[in-house]
Amino acid sequence: MEITLKTLIFYGFALMTIGSALAVVTVRNIVHAAFALMVTLFGVAGLYVFLQADFLAATQVIVYVGGILVLILFGVMMTSGRLQMRIHIERGQLLLGGGITIALLMLLLTVIANTPRWKNLSDDGTEFAPTTSRIGELILNEHFLLPFEIASVLLLVALIGAALISRKEVRD
């Protein structure tokens, strides 16, 4: 396989993603973990770009980094009261969890490696047209309209629900 700049950048993103994800699950400081998660999310956004999903990449950054991550940080602040909250990990649980995780990973990798249909599907470097307008048409004009509307309702419900659950209960 020919090593081009593009490939290098790809591997860079891949490593960034995996490395930071590893950090997310290992660091003890929850705030650090949150920042590591941010890096992971950026990495995934980069991979989206490689997959020529430009709109998605942008969405990933805006929603995840700008929204969800901030939300998580708020959660951290409101529950711990201090940013330096430590994460306890028990040894036994760690071992068991690690074992299961590795088994799972092995399994997945075996499946990926042994599925013939997925072999030899390589990126031929073709550039596609930007997807934004197409996504807009699909969502607002064609057969994804209904799921889209449902999703919007779901969001609304989640919003209201979250507000309801988290509000301070008025004790009689």
Partner: protein
């Protein structure tokens, strides 16, 4: 960059997410694990959409968008529940919240 590259990255992310969910003793860390899992799924969708289906078909991306929406909603509700639990139990350690213990 073949499909398998992406699949491997996705698998690793997924496993890490599972690992976090299984082992972390903090509800917010669990949430982060879940976010990892969701991201790995989205990545799979987009990758399959790119390599398997014809180029003009971008349904996989759409699904991914919905996945993001779902994640957002999930995160919001999850955090709300965490807040409620925190108020109720004074802790967000999942092993301490065991009212349903048989």
């Amino acid at each position: 960059m073949t499909l398998q590259h992406y699949l491997v990255i996705s698998a690793i992310l997924f496993s890490l997410g599972i690992f976090a969910v299984l082992t972390r003793r903090n509800a917010i860390s669990i949430l982060m694990g879940i976010e990892l899992i969701l991201n790995s799924c989205n990545l799979n969708f987009v990758a399959f959409s790119r390599f398997v289906t014809p180029p003009e078909n971008i349904d996989g991306q759409i699904i991914a968008i919905f996945g993001i929406v779902l994640a957002a909603a999930e995160a919001a509700v999850f955090l709300a529940i965490i807040l409620a639990i925190y108020r109720e139990f004074g802790s967000i350690r999942p092993d301490e919240v065991d009212t349903l213990k048989g």
